[in-house]
Symmetry: D3
Subunit: 322 residues, 6 copies
Amino acid sequence: MAHFDLPLDQLRSYRPDVAEPDDFDDFWGGTLEESRSLASPPVLARVDTKLRTVEAYDMTFSGFGGEPVKAWLLLPAGTSGPLPAIVEYNGYGGGRGLPHERLTWASCGYAHLFMDTRGQGSAGSAGGATADPHGSGPSVPGSMTKGILDPHDYYYRRVFTDAVLAIDAIKALDRVDPARVTVTGGSQGGGIALAAAGLVPDLVGAMPDVPFLAHFQRAVAMTDADPYNEVARYLAVHRGDDAAVFTTLSYFDVVNFSKRATAPALFSVGLMDIICPPSTVFAAANHHAVGAEVVEYAFNGHEGGQGVHWLRQSAWLADRIG
Amino acid sequence: MAHFDLPLDQLRSYRPDVAEPDDFDDFWGGTLEESRSLASPPVLARVDTKLRTVEAYDMTFSGFGGEPVKAWLLLPAGTSGPLPAIVEYNGYGGGRGLPHERLTWASCGYAHLFMDTRGQGSAGSAGGATADPHGSGPSVPGSMTKGILDPHDYYYRRVFTDAVLAIDAIKALDRVDPARVTVTGGSQGGGIALAAAGLVPDLVGAMPDVPFLAHFQRAVAMTDADPYNEVARYLAVHRGDDAAVFTTLSYFDVVNFSKRATAPALFSVGLMDIICPPSTVFAAANHHAVGAEVVEYAFNGHEGGQGVHWLRQSAWLADRIG
Amino acid sequence: MAHFDLPLDQLRSYRPDVAEPDDFDDFWGGTLEESRSLASPPVLARVDTKLRTVEAYDMTFSGFGGEPVKAWLLLPAGTSGPLPAIVEYNGYGGGRGLPHERLTWASCGYAHLFMDTRGQGSAGSAGGATADPHGSGPSVPGSMTKGILDPHDYYYRRVFTDAVLAIDAIKALDRVDPARVTVTGGSQGGGIALAAAGLVPDLVGAMPDVPFLAHFQRAVAMTDADPYNEVARYLAVHRGDDAAVFTTLSYFDVVNFSKRATAPALFSVGLMDIICPPSTVFAAANHHAVGAEVVEYAFNGHEGGQGVHWLRQSAWLADRIG
Amino acid sequence: MAHFDLPLDQLRSYRPDVAEPDDFDDFWGGTLEESRSLASPPVLARVDTKLRTVEAYDMTFSGFGGEPVKAWLLLPAGTSGPLPAIVEYNGYGGGRGLPHERLTWASCGYAHLFMDTRGQGSAGSAGGATADPHGSGPSVPGSMTKGILDPHDYYYRRVFTDAVLAIDAIKALDRVDPARVTVTGGSQGGGIALAAAGLVPDLVGAMPDVPFLAHFQRAVAMTDADPYNEVARYLAVHRGDDAAVFTTLSYFDVVNFSKRATAPALFSVGLMDIICPPSTVFAAANHHAVGAEVVEYAFNGHEGGQGVHWLRQSAWLADRIG
Amino acid sequence: MAHFDLPLDQLRSYRPDVAEPDDFDDFWGGTLEESRSLASPPVLARVDTKLRTVEAYDMTFSGFGGEPVKAWLLLPAGTSGPLPAIVEYNGYGGGRGLPHERLTWASCGYAHLFMDTRGQGSAGSAGGATADPHGSGPSVPGSMTKGILDPHDYYYRRVFTDAVLAIDAIKALDRVDPARVTVTGGSQGGGIALAAAGLVPDLVGAMPDVPFLAHFQRAVAMTDADPYNEVARYLAVHRGDDAAVFTTLSYFDVVNFSKRATAPALFSVGLMDIICPPSTVFAAANHHAVGAEVVEYAFNGHEGGQGVHWLRQSAWLADRIG
Amino acid sequence: MAHFDLPLDQLRSYRPDVAEPDDFDDFWGGTLEESRSLASPPVLARVDTKLRTVEAYDMTFSGFGGEPVKAWLLLPAGTSGPLPAIVEYNGYGGGRGLPHERLTWASCGYAHLFMDTRGQGSAGSAGGATADPHGSGPSVPGSMTKGILDPHDYYYRRVFTDAVLAIDAIKALDRVDPARVTVTGGSQGGGIALAAAGLVPDLVGAMPDVPFLAHFQRAVAMTDADPYNEVARYLAVHRGDDAAVFTTLSYFDVVNFSKRATAPALFSVGLMDIICPPSTVFAAANHHAVGAEVVEYAFNGHEGGQGVHWLRQSAWLADRIG
């Protein structure tokens, strides 16, 4: 997509005003409190795989409203003491797939939790296993406009709550050191990681990769690519709902979570990324409360840094965790 | 799409075996009984429009599980006695839109009910207003794979039930003659009409236009076009679920409803229709229990006969209703 | 297409210089005079439809050069006195279709004339019935470049003249009140409506919807979409004809007709409309001689406001006509 | 497009029944007679080019109805005696362009006439210069459906007549040997060449390259590609005009001209040609009255043999003319 | 792509005649002998990664003509005795990427060698590092037609030789058990694995996943998708080279290697795979000399079984190796 | 592509800083010296064609490293004395094709040499015949990234050297006047012509048509179209190689050759050209050392002026050569 966004020097200092509702913190405080009150301890079932160096567990934990959410927990085999942990969230549409598909973090000695995204999980490799037991008013196919007329009904209220409770759940495990938890994810997973990092106070860091769900007002007007375009298509039909829609989205804009971060962050951005335009990523990074490092991939689109960026992430994390 | 399907002479006699579950009638009997037991009378609210020849009502009736479903009821202005009625269902993704958008049937002297399709209604003109308050396991964006692993959970169980209860609702109105009700619709709406006509015993006729939801096993393997392709994409991820998926779909295949029809039908088919391939339409028509007339549009795709076909429908109906 | 044009605040005040030939008024005065001198009274034939609330007439009137042009005239059934009238022009490529396809205006109590566009009429539903008995020099497929080297030969000279004579014709009908005529149309139809409103002095109003044929010089350089792109493709082959082509087009640029309007106008614009870019629509609206209201559809493309906009139009018109 | 048509062995013997009207010969006899009666001698104007080996003339001759048609006449410079001649027709949409663009035949010692196609000529390099001063009823953009409801009005009646009168014109020139005239062309030009060769009795040969306008009934149903698809789009709107349209086309199907050929032919065919499917080309070749050689290009689409095929043509022609 | 190929029952028994040159074995015997005579022992360099459960080595071994080829060798950390080994080849265009990107086999206790494909390696994640120091005559961009006029010059002669010498190299390592080596790969990698398995006599098994390079004569005529289409594009330009090209390809058709297999094979096939059509995959499997199991993925394209298929592979392999 | 680049008035004065390596002249001086030292005299073989006005020769001359390069030499038949000469280079991917395909220059009295581009020649008509006997490290399919990490290995080092030695070769011919040589070509051929004109001191002129290979740093960031995009795709995989890649390209940027021109130039540019964006063309023209005339084609893309521009070229050249 060539370099379609602002010039690089402007991107690096791009720090736009992004709408933030007055009751943002109350909204999220109440949401988490309610779901935590409904939570029961996570259940782990050892999975029989051919893997010898990694132990895999099918974990079920209580997400939004006490509803069951699936995840894979991978642990380096033969370890016993409390491990540093990484909680990873998924890109749009995908499911947790199969335990052998993401071995890197556990192979580095981390407890690695990969969370299913409720109701998605029918794209990519082997899909997911977590239902979203909530219906919706008329919506565009996909997740972006489910319940979009009210922040309480919005799909990502449930997902972000799941994300926080996944951290709660992993901290409760004997083999995990609750003081050394990091969140990460790519695209939608990066957005969720930023949200979780704005809501959970004692993380070691956040590593959002080409994050989605940032600066909706600009993104929806700027790109024709899904998933942001789902919102535009909704507004093309539900003419006049603009104000309600963007008010709802302001509760979920990760720029607002980035302002509340308490741990450092390592971002990545693809300067040719038309799915998550670079200015929206820089908007979140430049509003970061603690300080965000942004790794730029100048000739990449939404694929960003891929395996090369993992080298950056694993080194950045090792510096913080040892 | 040129003429990609069987030669026309084979299409005209194409009458494939289509799987039918043993408990098909029990399934639907129980489903309707349960929802009917939860129904309350329809509520009508006169809508203030600029229209002078047609009265418009915002009707809310009890659909599946007693849940509210929206429809527009249009009546020719200034009439009093019981009118023949037409219940129309919508194409995929669309909503009921606005009352002035479909004036033809009421302008011909019919009571015309246009039913919203729950949870859809964010495509086309002005959208819909009916929620589908049921979540789903992991599904492909769109309606086709919501709850697809169990016929009780499948999205179209709710929609077909709504469709039948819409007929119940219109029959209960003073200004409608319950003995002269016809169902119609295009594409998804045509499939729903066929389903309703297989479940409701005393209709005057059914007029499915380029109907969808017919002969799934062939359609899913034959076309890359949505919405059938949503099922193929689901199966591409959820490998091994083929048997469960096609078992579920056999409860909703309109070929099986066509076999149970008690009123004559007027079909249309586009011989270049890659969305609802002609062989799947003929499969439903050729299995029709009473007898189906099929109007062929030789050089049309999924748009079929459009306004020209309405001339056929209005004449066909006038012959039956007067 | 996202928001690709000027920022909204600039659009709202965009009022560019648009070339206008010195003999613009003479050209059109002479053109109309000549064709009016060749006109004979309109011929109406009642059409047998199933419609009960609306009477339909196949009207043939004298257009450019006295040539026959087809239209549908719809009247609310059972009325007698002179009715307010709406003359509607069609979008690019379409034909008048069938009488039952556009019932809204007649159902509101207006006499409604829907004019065929000569030579087009082979796209959309059921096509048109009006020939354009004039050949052309080498042209790009489509109507945009027929006769484009000379304003006297240009296709839209004939169409705009037809449009004016359609108003003449409807005013001559007993059941129409010649003092209460409004013009409307979408896309090409909006452009034709603006042209007619610049040439006919005593209209009640004009309601151009996402109008085409505005600010050619900008439009042809700005969009790759047809129909504007037909002109670019012509110039890509006939290199060096730029001056002649844009001189011809200046006689047909609806910005120049908007400057001559004598009745108020209600415009619509899609801010994501790549077919008729918003700046070209605002160019016409902001040059309007009487005053134009512009309804903006922020997340719509060329479909604009659809049925929602009709609510605006019918209310706007009711305010003026009662 | 891979090998989408019949297997090669079936293609080579494919000789389908193609509808032929009873008055085919009368229709064409009358048409030619009338236009010939209106013809005046061709006018040649020497063109000032930088070319030294070839003389170029802007030729205007009388075509259908005595209307002027443009062509380039190229002669090898410095020759005097009567030359063998090649009349070439153009592909769809193109114009005669510029004299220096096709030098091969004149460089081989032939008089070369390249005829403009009336009304087309706004695609390709530098366009054309011949008007088609005949309007049309509603038609699809392009030439294929202009006047398609009556063979007397059909666009190609005028073009085929032009093609025959071009041969008349060149034979009348002093520097041309009227006993040694050959026709050729690619795609539409190939179809026109076949038509001319069916109407002109004393040609040396015809060299149609991937000819168009053959076996319409099959072609229109088989390919989605333009220009054949223009007919399908027309029929998609003008439902019910199939019989009239295919009756008209039967007067112009080059299969019927091939049956009337009096000189041998050299065809080419691209076995992956989706624009002019190979079976339609073989249909014309296998019905050839005198005998047609078909050069197959197995991995080519509509581009066929290009410069390689010219080697075949020039050798084939040299064998016949010397 | 729907189910575009033969019906499934025909696919399962599809065993076409595929051309095989008389000197096939001599050609390959000589090729391998020459390159083996130029080989020097592999060089391993430990790579510093963050991985704790897996040791990574940058391996350079002698490929075709003694030229250096890169690979990643991964070993489960902390093991000492001879390990069973898996040699994996890459899909078209990709490079070996980074060592942490493919951890599954080493995590199961295998020595895992992932070979770079010479000259490719500029697609996908992080690219490759192996040059192909051989030029070519005129070729289509990509690898498929480099040197295609002579089997000695053809690109895949070098690649298949590299593949065999990679097996030689890994067998020579102390930590590898040379009696327990398996080959695998997806798409191009599957084709290379089949070739290697036809040339190396003492493998445990081969696991080609949606293999490419099979039954060229059918594949090139059947699909428009790259990379097979590179050959069609070459032949579209180099008309007349068909015989030479297909003769060259017969030395590299993996059907001919499959006939020579000495170890069992586990194939996968996507029944909607337009890149490597299912009939070409079955052609190779059904000609397998020892016996091939084919896992069918009914609703998948070229992605085939992905992580789900790895479950099949790892189980199949464990049954053979323990 | 509409007018996507800078406004025309800015284009006309666009003269950006373009990186130039310090040893640019040494690099090229050494390169040419070495290859010239390996050169042997050109070999000409008369080709038997049907052409009478033009003599065709298959010429083989020594290019880079003394390697054989093919060209067609066309001479006006029957001439004897030294002729002015035109050396033409080809567009990307094409081959020299066949001698009869480009007759214009020879028909005007010039000796015309059309050079094959090594290793390309499998697109367009009949392909090429010149090998590039040099391999490459991992590269993107196509020529743009072969050897791109080092200017000595870069593909265009060989091509530009071939281009210069083609001029050497033609000057050595008896029938050519070495003082009247001009270079030309379109797209890649225009870039090569500019390079040659910067390296050969005594040309009459250069006529680059929509030249490629100009201002890489801007072009690669600005367009998604190939061939420039090959570089972007390379950098998307080989992250971090930006500096090395653009350093290599600075030795081949035709802006730097334009600065060294010693003869006047006639450029063309398409203002809608997304393949070779107009700003990159003006960058080269506005840096021209002697003075460049730029013919603008306002509504053309990469096809530029086609035959119309040849009229400009032949006139411009006639003014200089007579």
